[in-house]
Symmetry: C2
Subunit: 341 residues, 2 copies
């Protein structure tokens, strides 16, 4: 590994994507990316007794599928990096308890997918493991009742509120070459501009994404136009607008090749999601589903995935704290020939 500038790791050798899994709920299955999930569930509980257990099951499914697609067994995986939004990350614990794989719990809020992918890649590139898994999940119902109101209360949502996706994504990172690799990783610094509205997390997280993207461009000398796609997850419409505006003022134009997982997972015109999707599972399932499939068929070659997280708890906000944002970034590269070329 080589350090570029202050904040970026160049992975030499790179870590390779050997398989991925992506599962989601009913609403996500009615959205524009429906065909790219491995499966969607019409039943919010997945047949379990609680939403928390349903979310855990989404993680189990995503990991098992990713390992199967990698043609590996659980015993071939040295470490699993997992986290979620629930208190004490219980979706990860209970979803992965029976796998028998050394477990390293991660907490990055909605940045967890990129944090885990970065960790898994650093372990592989540094020689600590041949195969690792990164996984995360979220569930609309378990998140709403923990962070906002009981669903039965029927609380009114504000226009800036995002819809927590019911979804999970998992990826196997490996030292064995494959068409898709992670080339660089930029782990983020905490950024807090004082936003304290739990219904406007896009605004709270956008400055963190600005910081990490700027760090990456500065460290590597790459420019936004070097990428087929610059993808945040999950700023939604409000946060993405802020991000593009701040980046443009700083001289980085994202107008041509930018998108956000929270804007991609739902059809805003037909689905009542206000400012778009959010939750660890949103970017997790979009990246491990749609993005990986586009990269595998050569439709995307260089993707900069900067996941964003709001490191907040209801207790902290009740005590007058502001929302701390963070953004972790990985550069995904595909060598697959374009099938359409």
């Amino acid at each position: 590994m080589e350090r570029l500038g202050n904040y970026t790791l160049k992975l030499n050798p790179p870590a390779y994507v050997r398989g991925s899994g992506s599962f989601a709920g009913k609403k996500e299955g009615e959205g524009p990316l429906a065909d790219y999930f491995d499966a969607t569930h019409d039943d919010t509980t997945l047949g379990e007794e609680s939403w928390e257990k349903a979310e855990a099951k989404l993680q189990t499914e995503a990991v098992k599928t990713a390992i199967q697609k990698a043609h590996l067994k659980n015993t071939d995986i040295q470490y699993i990096f997992a986290g979620d939004l629930l208190n004490q990350c219980i979706s990860s614990t209970y979803g992965l308890r029976d796998l028998g794989i050394p477990f390293l719990g991660q907490y990055g809020a909605c940045s967890t997918m990129a944090q885990g992918m970065g960790m898994a890649s650093v372990f592989v590139s540094g020689g600590a493991a041949e195969n690792t898994v990164a996984v995360t999940s979220s569930h609309f119902c378990s998140a709403e009742r923990q962070f906002r109101f009981p669903l039965e209360y029927g609380g009114q949502r504000t226009p800036t509120a995002q819809w927590t996706a019911t979804a999970a994504g998992a990826v196997v990172m490996s030292s064995r070459p494959s068409p898709i690799s992670i080339q660089e990783v930029t782990f983020g610094r905490m950024t807090d501009l004082g936003v304290s509205d739990a219904n406007n997390m896009g605004a709270a997280m956008a400055p963190a994404a600005v910081r990490t993207l700027t760090d990456y461009f500065t460290d590597t000398g790459h420019m936004p136009q070097d990428f087929d796609l610059i993808l945040t997850g999950d700023l939604g419409y409000v946060g993405s607008t802020l991000l593009r505006k701040i980046m443009k003022e700083a001289g980085w134009d994202l107008d041509n090749n930018y998108n956000d997982c929270g804007m991609m997972i739902y059809d805003r015109k037909k689905q009542d999601v206000h400012a778009g999707g959010s939750g660890c599972g949103c970017s997790g399932s979009v990246v491990c589903g749609y993005i990986m499939k586009q990269m595998l068929k050569g439709a995307l070659h260089d993707v900069l995935f900067a996941a964003t997280g709001a490191l907040m708890s209801p207790t902290a906000l009740q005590q007058g704290e502001s929302i701390v944002g963070i953004s972790h970034l990985v550069h995904l590269h595909s060598d697959a020939p374009n099938e359409l070329a």
Copy 2:
């Protein structure tokens, strides 16, 4: 790095301890390890408005002191690995927000100190960083009201209950040689034998420690007698008794060189702590205080530190789940000559 057996990483080169910090509360300051903390606080709130903010401040203090003792600046640290028991790990977030160091949130419950030390060491040994920090904390008051009862309720504690330490520990891991190093790391697998009593976490966690210690001895060929100290954290009296019993039945005798951070931090005869101490900050402060100081003066040369965590939440237990245990292990080695020799 070299993989030994199925679960252990031999760090080549090792990662070195360059500085550590250890802070605690009033009760810990009245215990047998009082002289080994960098400071103790008589005021449970540390002058802050809430116990959560007090706990965050303990992390700030521990990290700042560790970096100072390492004769480094914040900008010399590439990554900080931090976690705690509070929902969404807010002690770590708010305690470390202003440092400007790339932040990687960890969730290992009371195993967080070893998980973070292991992570920090793998990053250093693998060439991803020159200097990293691992830190964790806990606070009796913030933990009680989150996991059990409001303090004002005055709930009766059971004989198997452990006392969450008000404390924090931080360590700087570095590529620059120093007397104390981490030689091997064994990250643990989740272990669940069905214990569901949140007031008997020692019993829930002991099987995980058995598993990780057994993995380590099997992978490396080391025997318990190769170590000056085998240290769990924090099984307390109940869990430690179980651990010794199970290990003995499996042919590993820990009778001569075993201790537990939860048994060391308080004087059970004089202090009303029932089954001993617990909480991320218990093993964090014992290892980053007492143990590091003993190793620096050559009184201990080889310490096997196996921290244990109960990956539980009140919600999971209310839904009928059992408590999942995990244990992560690091082998600390000191080259310091024995001052008394």
